[in-house]
Symmetry: D2
Subunit: 345 residues, 4 copies
């Protein structure tokens, strides 16, 4: 049975990895590390895990990690994964990184939005882990850059209609709304209960670091430099991203054309669910799941296509997609450990 | 002292009117009606009002209303105000209606999105009560159609930049997010706690009845037929609307140009607050107030202007703006009864 | 494989049954009924279930149910299960009822708090399905009355200390706080988002119908008539019950005595988790799980023992405990289908 | 016009003081201090205050404060007020402290739950500012220790029935539920949105520092040492405390006796609202107000009286009661600045 470790197991993405991996039938979770909580039992940090795991957080020591795990998830702030990934890969481990460090093929783009990159060579072989789109590359990869939560919610609905050339690539706008867990477990006034409750606000308007990540992928898809206006918002809920995309139509199409486009594009994809007939996604429907729900509407008066997607930012937007990548890399069923039945409410 | 009545006092807009009018220094609230709760003490319906008002809800009887009130607010579902307003006006009352019945100048537009109109004559003299824009007309009006909550949040940020010809009128998109109180007090699964909590969703995508209302005003402002793609969303909070507007630039402008445009346009408007310097509105900042907060950002890479507004849907989006209309009509200070200090949280 | 049906599948307890049964490895869910939604696909009612189940709700027809299912869960309002259970039992089905109809051994008690009972004979053989306490009886039962959510949260912490005679049975007080889902999916102002959000209130103070249910069990445990002051409250959250119990000490005991009492009493019980050392249960820790977390504190100055329990009202308080009963009745592992890994947040 | 200053103006109690004082008709708010935000405009810290105040936070310099203010509110962590209050009083200022520093008459009690006391002399003259109970002493005081939020919610319902000798003073239990703002603006995991949302929990079980404060007052009222079992809980909402009190009856009384007791006790008290006839307080009814709502129920089977109170922890539980104290001290109408009309939702 494949042995798996989680580096950075106590942030929300790490904790969600632990949740999914503890319930995964085909792997064994063997090591958790935490800079902040080394030496502390995991269920003392997350008491919901009492009786579920007896793992104790450890320091991040490469030798120890390599002894214990064949696949390593890194759920760390950016800049840290690039310092540890080369060692892990060198020792034959598969690395699935949830930060931005290995999402970009062009180090210069990374460096203009983040910091200096210390493992540029790896960018040549790392694969952008958007599973439904880059399945084949993932299957052969040793190093995955798991997409950001917002890019996942934007790219999955947008790529099919772009490939079908339904929309004009100069007109793309994405308006995203995220639950508070997207901001992580670090303390801040923004995520203080009393300042987030009954609050709805935009932030990093047209300046979010996921913007260049999305544009890199969009440009790869269209073959020409493609940009996107992107505005993220914070909603008073724990989990979920709802993204509304506005795109000008480049040709006369019908609702059926759009539906058929998605239906055929995602026919083999167990985590994509399509909504049509004036039904639309809701973050509540995907809470705790790895689904990406997609709905759409033609605004014919204005010659625009409106796409709406919903994901759980911690699952399909982070830990779930990371596990899906692992499944693909290991030749397991893509859905292994990811089909927990959704909650009705 | 002017005597004021509220017809339909137990829905949320009506209840907010009662709140504001009970605290208004220059008028006397004399009569409340409710079809559902006639005969019931108001503080038995809203126990927060214990010790504040002793009014008892009455049936909606025109003679009685006319005996008791000089100004009448109608906070009823559409189609009802048009049946009572003619009588009230005929007896010399001023009528401020919160439904859609008197917002449209063209009955055909109303009828295509609502129902048959039974008081078309009144549409010639009724005034669209967007106070900051149509102050002069309001001052002389006897009948006001108070703008919808979404239109208020869209028009106040958009009209100044349209008048300044900063943006291309073919590119207008408004993405609005509303608290649940916007759906009113009527029971439905959509507003059931367990289905609204942790839920974020779009609804009436590009088909909301506030769409033609906004386009009527925008067309009036631009002088040519002007359309808008509009998508409303429901957020898990009680109060507030945040609207994000995307508009293509029609000329090269700077952030200062936008700020100056708003600053001069709204220099005399006590309820408009401007945000600049990468600070943006938040529904929490306007909760319970009549303010409309406006922020903006230039997305220069994409030649777009992004406008962001926040209002309390029940105050500036309904009852507060209605009272502001009354103040203007009566020659009172525009802010009378509307300057309760905002809550920090 | 045992075939299972859910009668009343669209209320929240029914929907939670569907969730758990769809993920259960040892049974097959074969039929769902709904008076309100007969003929409607289940995933049209709960879109979170898209791709998970293709079952369509049916009318409640006994023949059809008996053709399709060996075990039948009834998740109906009280008075209805008693009309259908006799038929089901007569045809050899096992029946697990989530209403109050089969919780009482004494029909007179039932009738004084509910209505006339139409299947009194069955009360002689029905078993009160509090799994950790009545495991042996459940194993041999054909008809289970699943305990109410509040009684589960009160009895599991209270019975061990009562059996140990630590507390004076004349001093029992339980103060419970429930999420809104406890009120079900029926629409009411109490559960309207805007009236439940930011609201905390008591209801049915010392008059709740779960009070006699608890007293029946407590009296059975103590051997003498035992009463309880019980006050339920509604908290602004979807799921969870936290119960705080106050009991006068009948003897001098230490914290270790209490801990040891629980430890030995529940040593074989996979769903009981104990908190000690100034750590206490939290509804968030049990959200979506079948756990009952129990904590305690000695208030030595006042000679009282304070017990605190947390459950998910829809799982351990309803559907999860119902499935646990089924597992025991069928001789399956008690935990089958009930060990989904808890969420960190 | 009396000039007023707020020391520690940026915590939630301080911010609520600023809100109330900005709307107070009879005083002028002249100085705000903040250790953390000295030099920062108040509306940059709380943007809801844009257009409302132009005050800028200052360092806490006694000379400057004394120049600017006649009445000083100290909204600081305990231990700090005792270092500044002597100077302020010496210069003839009136001081209203919201910490625990001046609530106790016996320094030893303070020191056993807090820290060493550095201004013990002042405890002889400081007055416990529970306005409805100690009105006369407050009227003549120069230094007020404003009661804690929980003690306010416990003492106001309990003192009348204790004075009437309805209940046995050995049986007192208070189970309180507080919104998250009670934990203040300091960052912590407990108040992190994702850990507080959908979470209900007890904390400091029978060890909260408000326990001795309540017992001091109760003992003063009964004339003998009187204790109380007190368990506070945290509820997922911003504002509000609901307290449920359980007390054994010491005599045979009727519901009317209880109602009459409260009615006569609080006949002159504008901020006490009584609920009877199976109606009970709700935190939503008092949100943003200075009311303390009180309801009650006789549990005759168990010979207990159940009292239920609701307050807004930041208003009647802190800033509102502080302003009420100021009004009384200055001989103003007790309600000045405190009668903002409550919100319906």
């Amino acid at each position: 049975m494949t042995r798996v470790g989680v580096i950075g197991a106590t942030g929300y993405a790490g904790a969600e990895l632990v949740r999914l991996l503890c319930g995964h039938p085909d792997i064994e979770l063997t090591i958790l590390t935490s800079r902040q909580y080394a030496g502390v039992a995991y269920d003392a940090i997350y008491p919901s895990m009492k009786n579920v795991t007896r793992l104790v957080c450890e320091d991040m020591i490469v030798d120890r990690i390599c002894d214990k795990a064949d696949v390593v998830f890194t759920a760390l702030p950016h800049k840290l994964p690039m310092t540890i990934a080369p060692d892990l890969l060198h020792r034959g481990k598969k690395v699935i990184d949830l930060s931005a460090d290995f999402r970009f093929t062009d180090a210069a783009v990374y460096e203009s939005f983040y910091d200096g990159h210390k493992a540029k060579d790896l960018l040549k072989t790392s694969v952008y882990g958007l599973c439904e789109i880059y399945f084949e590359q993932i299957r052969n990869a040793d190093l995955i850059g798991v997409p950001g939560c917002y890019p996942t919610s934007v790219l999955l609905p947008l790529i099919p209609v772009l490939r079908s050339k339904f929309v004009d690539m100069d007109t793309l706008i994405a308006d995203s709304k995220s639950g508070v867990s997207g901001a992580g477990r670090s303390l801040s006034l923004t995520t203080h209960f009393c300042e987030a409750n009954e609050s709805f606000k935009a932030y990093k308007v047209a300046t979010h670091r996921h913007n260049p990540e999305m544009e890199m992928v969009l440009s790869r898809e269209t073959g020409v430099p493609t940009t996107l206006t992107f505005v993220p918002h914070l909603a008073p809920m724990t989990r979920g991203i709802l993204t509304t995309i506005y795109a000008g139509l480049s040709q006369r199409i019908s609702l059926d054309d759009v539906y058929d486009c998605f239906l055929s594009f995602y026919s083999e994809c167990p985590f994509i669910r399509l909504f049509n007939g004036n039904k639309f996604p809701d973050t509540l429907y995907v809470r705790g799941t790895n689904y990406c729900d997609i709905g759409f509407k033609l605004d014919e008066r204005n010659h625009r296509l409106i796409l709406i997607s919903a994901i759980d930012n911690l699952v399909k937007g982070a830990a779930g997609q990371a596990v899906q990548n692992m499944n693909i890399m290991l030749g397991l069923d893509e859905t292994a450990g990811l089909l927990g039945v959704p909650f009705p409410i």
